[in-house]
């Protein structure tokens, strides 16, 4: 059962990524990316991380992709790549060959270590919201506070950029 779920979610996520890259229409790309992120939530659930699975769907498949689709809606015209130009075959070769080489290297490197099992079943309550938040607000409290500053800077930056030519309220 675990093997079936892994292959199902893994193939769905890889397919979603592949279609995101190959589809010409940005809206279709975005919808395939949502598929990939929902499949990633399934992978998190398999790795006994239920809290991460929920957050993956809420934050990635929900918030971030809604942001992408809104921007596609605002830009309307240029979401289709220019069809008159020939597709970028040269770059495809330059990108795909090193990528294939890197993938083969990584796979042989990982396999030379021997297949490592996931180890014994985890304890009750592993990866739940309670267990993760104990760490988040305990041992990693400084990182938690710093990441909130990153988000604050992101909000202010997006606001300042999105205002365009109009005057900002604090100027």
């Amino acid at each position: 059962m675990e093997a079936f779920l892994f292959w199902f979610c893994g193939i769905l996520m890889f397919l979603g990524g592949l279609m995101t890259v190959t589809q010409r229409n940005a809206v279709v790309s975005a919808v395939w990316l949502i598929f990939a992120f929902v499949a990633a939530a399934g992978i998190f659930a398999l790795l006994s991380a239920p809290f991460l699975a929920i957050m993956q769907i809420l934050v990635y498949a929900g918030a971030i992709m809604v942001l992408f689709l809104f921007v596609i809606m605002m830009l309307q015209g240029p979401v289709m790549e220019d069809e008159r130009r020939s597709p970028n075959k040269v770059w495809l070769v330059f990108a795909a060959l090193p990528a294939a080489a890197i993938l083969v290297t990584i796979i042989s490197w990982i396999r030379s270590d021997g297949a490592r099992s996931l180890g014994p079943a985890v304890a009750e309550g592993f990866g739940t919201a309670e267990a993760v938040s104990r760490l988040l607000l305990g041992r990693y409290l400084l990182a938690f506070e710093l990441i909130s500053i990153v988000l604050l800077v992101g909000i202010i930056g997006a606001l300042a950029l999105g205002k365009g030519e109009r005057k900002l309220p604090w100027k």
Binding site: G10, I43, A49, E81, V122, A143, A158
Partner: protein
């Protein structure tokens, strides 16, 4: 067949490289941003897998940090794209080479 740590690592590597190829090949800046999100997401799988192997939730905390970084990156990147589109009427990266000339 037992699913091992290796399976998860190879899956993450394959998805990361898919995103990398997409970032290099695509010319639409929106899709390039989506490819960056895909690469960030594949790294999260590695964090969660090692967290599971060591039986320690520390990796989950880093995945949550990664979520926040990805959200900030998407917000800033998309705001930049909208601003570029307002000024240049295009988001095709082949047309955005003012700094190159």
């Amino acid at each position: 067949m037992e699913i091992t740590l290796t399976h998860y690592l190879v899956l993450a590597a394959a998805i990361f490289l898919t995103g990398m190829v997409g970032f290099i090949v695509r010319r639409n800046a929106l899709v390039m941003l989506m490819c960056v999100e895909l690469m960030l997401s594949s790294v999260n799988i590695v964090f969660a897998a090692f967290s599971r192997v060591h039986g320690n939730e520390g990796g989950h905390v880093f995945v949550l940090m990664n979520f926040a970084v990805a959200a900030a990156e998407a917000a800033i990147g998309l705001a930049l794209l909208v601003e570029i589109y307002r000024r240049r009427r295009t988001i095709d990266v082949d047309d955005l080479k003012a700094l190159m000339e």
